[in-house]
Amino acid sequence: MNLYKFSSPVTFYPLAGKMWPWFATLAGVFAVAGLYLGLFVAPVDYQQGEVYRILYIHVPASVIGMFIYLVMAGYGVLALTLNTRLSAMMMEALAPTGALLTVLALWTGSLWGRPTWGTYWVWDARITSTLLLVFLYVGYLALIHAIEDKRRADKAGALLVIVSSINVPIIYFSVKWWNTLHQGSSVSLAGNAIASPAMRWGLLLMTLACWMYAIAMTLVRVRAIISEREQGAAWLEGNKV
């Protein structure tokens, strides 16, 4: 199958239109299964009680949020080297979902922190890195929306994400180091050994659910972006699916 065939917005648009309902369905299925396992089957944590169950949203959101940024960086490389418009559009489509999931991770982390340690915010390495990731997402979105010329915005955004993603491991490492130096919170949010298989499966399924959701949302959004950019193009008029 010639993958290049789909690197044009023209051919990708209908493909995305057919694909996203499948991913949405998968997301729903995984979410139901994961939440069932996580909320009802997995045993109660003996230290934290029912509250710990927020982990089933917090961890997947955090993992997929980070993953999306790396995917964006990959598309960024394609956008700059191969000069494909669709790569840049995919980046633009991914960013809001990535930002949302990362913010969700922060929020659930905060909700978890309150009953567990008494504060809404804890400056541990992972949460602080997640906060910085939110800033990176916001920065990207701000940049591409501030530049009026779409071509320039695409390439500038791509360069920014590539440079930032090289920085992400450095940021993570430095924050972790900072945290150990300052002997701050020594509790890791997911510190408890994930003992029971129900917990493991619950987490895995919820992570998959987040991933499928992210794909579905991205496909829907990229269709909107394609349709906005190619406004007036003949192929679009006759092809609105």
Binding site: N83, K150, Q231, G232
Partner: protein, 208 residues
Amino acid sequence: MTLSVTGLTLSRGPRQLFANLSFTLMAGQALVLRGANGSGKTTLLRVLAGLTAADGGELRWNGEHWKALCAGQRAASLYLGHANALKDELTAAENLAESLAFDGVAVPDSVQRQSLDGMGLANRHHLPARRLSQGQKRRVGLARLALARKPLWLLDEPTNALDSEGVALFSRVVAEHLHQGGMACIASHLPLDIAAPVHELVLGEAPA
């Protein structure tokens, strides 16, 4: 030396500026771009300079393919846009020296001074550029053109702020450049009187 453009296509948003534009420029020739405001004269010059990438088409110099801002393109072209490209804080003489330094040509100070004098800036060498009039700033640019020894000149509305004496100077400089085998692509809505073979390209019209 030959500059050849084949099948150039470029769109800016919903507007298509060029569709399959092709032409060839040979040594000693000048191409004048005409067209209404917004017809793409500046954009075409920038594509030839490599500053703007076209959507499709090819640019070749002496048969060699040019990608945007490749070394060959930068070495051979001199682009003067709307802005004067002078630093306000530097004097006329310093501006000329800096421009030539970055053009990679070594021109002795005395020759630079002579050139500025020749452009009618005799008592203005040591004035900071912010104190020069628009026309005088353009003349500093002319001095650079004359000294930089680049084969391909890409000029956007070069006579804009020049008085009639300045326009005559400009015509002389361009004619001399063409006689020496150089080539020029000039966007202008004003009439140019150059004593050399000049072709016109009118943008914004469908091909006949």
